[in-house]
C-alpha cells in the first residue's frame, strides 16, 4: 500500500518528508505538495510538519556523499516545481544513501537524467532572468523590476545581482510567486508587496501609456527621466537591427513571447 506524505512546498519540508520515510520505514511513499493535493479520506496520508533539524540531517548526509555540482543540480531540480519532482529527488537521495555515493554522471539512469534535465531547464531560466530583468528607477534611489519566471529562480539569481549592483538599492519581484528580493547595499531581504491591482495587471508593465504607473506611486520627474531612458533604449534596440537579415524564427527562439510583457523594447 502506498503512503502519501504531504509537505508544505519548502525544501526543508521535502527533506523532513524524506527523513520521515527512513524514520518510520515507510514502504512505497509518494511525496506531494499539501497545497496541490485534495485531502482525501483514504488511509495512508501523512501530513509532514517541517522540522529544520531533521531536514538538515538529511541534507548534510546527502552533501557528504556527493560533490557540489550534484547537490546543486538536485536543488535546481527542486526549484523547477515540476509536479512529481519531489519523488525523483527522493529516488536520487535514496540511490545515494544506498550506494554511499551519488550516481553522478550516470546518464543511463532515468532518475539521474531527469534531475540533470530539470536542472538544465532551471539553469536556462536563471540565465534568462539575469538577462531579462529590467530595472526602473522608482524614487531617488530604488531600482525596481518585476518578473514572472517559469521556475522559482529568485534564490539562484540573488548573488549575481548583489555582485553586480553593489552600489544601488534594488528590488526584483516575482509576480507569479508573489515574493521578491530586495537589496539595500548591505544585505538581501525577502519582501512581499500588497498590490491593489488584480493579477495580470500588477507591477510595471510594458505598455505605452501605462509604463510606470500601475500601483507603484512615482514622482512625475522620475517618471519622465525613466521614460527617457526607456525611450533611448528602445531607440537603440531599433537602430541596431539589420533589416536585410531579418530572421523572426531565430528571434522568437531567443526571446519567446511570454517574456515580452516586461521588456520595454518589445513594446
Amino acid at each position: 500500500m502506498t503512503t502519501t506524505l504531504l509537505y508544505d512546498g519548502s525544501l526543508n519540508g521535502l527533506l523532513t518528508a524524506i527523513f520521515t520515510i527512513y524514520d518510520q520505514k515507510i514502504n512505497l511513499p509518494i511525496i506531494s505538495k499539501a497545497s496541490l493535493t485534495q485531502k482525501n479520506l483514504f488511509d495512508g496520508t501523512e501530513i509532514i510538519t517541517t522540522d529544520i533539524d531533521k531536514a538538515q540531517r538529511v541534507w548534510k548526509r546527502f552533501k557528504s556523499l556527493c560533490n557540489h555540482r550534484d547537490s546543486h543540480q538536485v536543488y535546481c531540480a527542486f526549484l523547477s516545481e515540476i509536479t512529481g519532482m519531489e519523488n525523483t529527488i527522493y529516488e536520487y537521495i535514496k540511490m545515494t544513501f544506498r550506494a554511499q555515493k551519488a550516481p553522478s554522471g550516470d546518464f543511463t539512469d532515468p532518475v539521474v537524467l531527469k534531475i540533470a534535465q530539470a536542472a538544465k531547464m532551471v539553469g536556462r531560466e536563471k540565465h534568462r532572468m539575469e538577462a531579462f530583468v529590467r530595472f526602473h528607477l522608482i524614487d531617488n534611489k530604488t531600482y525596481y523590476a518585476n518578473i514572472e519566471p517559469d521556475f522559482n529562480v529568485l534564490p539562484l539569481i540573488t548573488k549575481h545581482f548583489k555582485n553586480r549592483y553593489a552600489d544601488q538599492n534594488w528590488i526584483i519581484y516575482d509576480l507569479s510567486r508573489n515574493y521578491g528580493i530586495s537589496y539595500d547595499q548591505k544585505t538581501i531581504h525577502e519582501v512581499h508587496i500588497e498590490f491593489k491591482a488584480p493579477k495580470g495587471q500588477r507591477g510595471i508593465l510594458n505598455t505605452i501609456s501605462s509604463s510606470l504607473q500601475n500601483n507603484l506611486a512615482m514622482k512625475t520627474d522620475y517618471k519622465e527621466l525613466e521614460n527617457n531612458y526607456q525611450d533611448l533604449w528602445n531607440m537603440y534596440f531599433k537602430s541596431t537591427n539589420i533589416e536585410s537579415r531579418k530572421n523572426l524564427k531565430l528571434h522568437l527562439q531567443h526571446v519567446p513571447r511570454r517574456y515580452w510583457k516586461y521588456l520595454s523594447e518589445k513594446m
Partner: protein, 420 residues
C-alpha cells in the same frame, strides 16, 4: 541632458556600428571592487535579441561616424552621403552607466570612424574607458576598437581599461584589401594586434610574480572578416582565421556576411542576398577547429576549397573519411567520439561519464539527446542492430537528407533532386 539631441545621435551612431558582429561579453575576470558598479567575471549575457536574431549584449556605438578613409565596403566611408554625428566623452559615459544600472546591457562596445588621425581617435576612445573605470568605478565589460595605425603606447594604455580589444581585418586577402580599401595597408591592421598581444603576455608573466599587477585586456583580442565581398574561397577565409588564432591567440574570429551598402562595381550590388548560410557553415567550421580538435587542413584543402552548403562540415568530413568509421561508442576515445556527426561536445562528455557505469545502447544514446538521424551510420554500441549495409558516402548523405528538415531547405532543394 539634452534628451532629443542624444536620441538623434544614438540613432545615427548605433545604426553605423551595427555591422560589427562581435557581441561577446564573456571571458573577462574583472570583479566588482570597493562596492562599485558592475561585475564582468561571470558568463556573458545576451540581454535581448533584435529581429534579425542577433543578440544585444553591449551598447554598441561609434564615437563618431566622421571618417577620413574611403573603404568601399563600409557604410561610414568618406564619400558616402550620410548624416554625420559625434558623441562627447561624457555622453557615452552617461549612456553606458544608465543603461547598465537598468540591466539593459553588459557594458560598452565603442568603435569609431577615424577623424583627424588614428592616434587622435584612439586617444578619445581611451578617454571614455578611463573615465568609466576611474571616475565611475565601473566594472562592467568594455570592448574597444584598436584603430589601425594607432601607436603602440596608446594600445598599451587601452588594454589597462578595456576587457577586449579588436581590429577588424575585414578583407581576408591582401589583394582584396588593395582593391576595396586602397588607402589602408595590411600592416596597419597587424601592428596594433601585435602591440596588444605583446602587452598581454608581459602583464601575464608579471602577474605571476607580482600579484598587484593590474589586469590587461583580460578577455583578449578578436577580429572580424567580411564574407562574400571579394570572391574569396572558404579556404582563404578559414586559413586566415586559423592564422589569427595561432599567431595572435585571438579569442574569436567573427565572420560577417557582406551586406551591400554601396553601388560600387567592385562589390555585390545593393539588394544582393546576405550569404547567411555560408556564414553559418563558416562558424560551424570555426567551432570544429576550436572545440572539436579538427585541423583546418582536414576540412578545407586544395581538393575541397569550399564548404558544402547542404550538409554541415563535420558530416561532410566524415563522408570523405568513411574508413575511420564506425566508431565504437563504448571504447573510442573522446577525440574520435567528437568526430561522429550528430554528436556535440555536451553529448560527448555525457557519453564518456555515463559509460563508466555501463555499456551504452541506442536507447541510452537517444535519451542523452544525440541526433540519431546523422550519427547512426557512423557508430556502433551495445545493441545488436546497427547499420550493416555497405553504404557509399553519397548514399548516406541522401538518406540523412531525406530524413531531416534543414532551416536552409529552400536553398538547396534543387540539389537534392539531382541525387535522388
Amino acid at each position: 541632458m539634452n534628451y532629443e539631441r542624444i536620441k538623434e545621435k544614438l540613432e545615427i551612431l548605433a545604426d553605423a556600428a551595427k555591422y560589427d558582429v562581435s557581441c561577446s561579453s564573456s571571458g573577462s575576470k574583472r570583479q566588482n571592487k570597493n562596492k562599485g558598479l558592475g561585475d564582468s567575471s561571470g558568463m556573458g549575457i545576451c540581454h535581448t535579441y533584435t529581429e534579425d536574431g542577433r543578440c544585444v549584449s553591449l551598447l554598441k556605438i561609434l564615437l563618431t561616424n566622421v571618417c577620413i578613409f574611403d573603404c568601399a565596403y563600409c557604410v561610414t566611408r568618406k564619400s558616402n552621403d550620410i548624416k554625420r554625428a559625434a558623441f562627447t566623452v561624457q555622453e557615452v559615459v552617461d549612456l553606458t552607466i544608465n543603461f547598465y544600472r537598468r540591466n539593459y546591457i553588459e557594458g560598452l562596445f565603442l568603435s569609431s570612424g577615424i577623424f583627424k588621425s588614428p592616434d587622435a581617435t584612439m586617444e578619445r576612445l581611451i578617454r571614455v574607458a578611463k573615465k568609466l573605470r576611474k571616475e565611475e568605478n565601473f566594472n562592467g565589460y568594455i570592448h574597444l576598437k584598436s584603430i589601425p595605425g594607432a601607436s603602440d603606447e596608446l594600445m598599451q594604455e587601452a588594454g589597462l581599461y578595456a576587457d577586449r580589444l579588436s581590429v577588424n581585418i575585414e578583407i581576408p586577402t591582401k589583394a582584396g584589401l588593395k582593391l576595396l580599401a586602397p588607402d589602408k595597408d595590411h600592416k596597419d591592421f597587424i601592428k596594433p594586434m601585435k602591440a596588444v598581444q605583446n602587452s598581454i603576455q608581459i602583464y601575464k608573466s608579471e602577474k605571476k610574480l607580482i600579484k598587484k599587477t593590474p589586469i590587461y585586456a583580460p578577455a583578449g583580442q578578436s577580429t572580424q572578416m567580411i564574407v562574400g565581398a571579394t570572391g574569396e574561397s572558404d579556404r582563404d577565409i578559414m586559413y586566415s582565421a586559423n592564422f589569427f588564432y595561432n599567431k595572435f591567440q585571438m579569442k574569436r574570429v567573427y565572420y560577417s556576411g557582406y551586406i551591400p551598402v554601396a553601388n560600387d562595381s567592385r562589390l555585390p550590388a545593393i539588394g544582393t542576398e546576405v550569404p547567411m548560410m555560408r556564414e553559418n557553415r563558416l562558424y560551424q567550421t570555426d567551432w570544429l577547429l576550436r572545440f572539436y580538435g579538427f585541423n583546418v587542413q582536414e576540412i578545407l584543402n586544395d581538393k575541397h576549397q569550399n564548404l558544402d552548403m547542404d550538409i554541415d562540415p563535420k558530416l561532410s568530413w566524415a563522408l570523405r573519411n568513411l574508413d575511420q568509421f564506425p566508431v565504437d561508442i563504448n571504447k573510442a576515445d573522446k577525440r574520435m567520439i567528437a568526430r561522429v556527426p550528430g554528436i556535440g561536445m555536451r553529448s560527448v562528455s555525457k557519453i564518456i561519464s555515463a559509460r563508466r557505469y555501463r555499456k551504452l545502447n541506442w536507447e541510452h544514446l537517444k535519451a542523452i539527446g544525440i541526433s540519431m538521424n546523422r550519427s547512426k551510420y557512423f557508430m556502433v554500441c551495445d545493441s545488436r542492430e546497427f547499420e550493416s549495409r555497405d553504404l557509399t558516402g553519397s548514399k548516406i548523405k541522401n538518406l540523412i537528407m531525406l530524413n531531416s528538415k534543414s532551416k536552409y531547405h529552400k536553398n538547396f532543394n534543387h540539389q537534392l533532386n539531382l541525387f535522388a
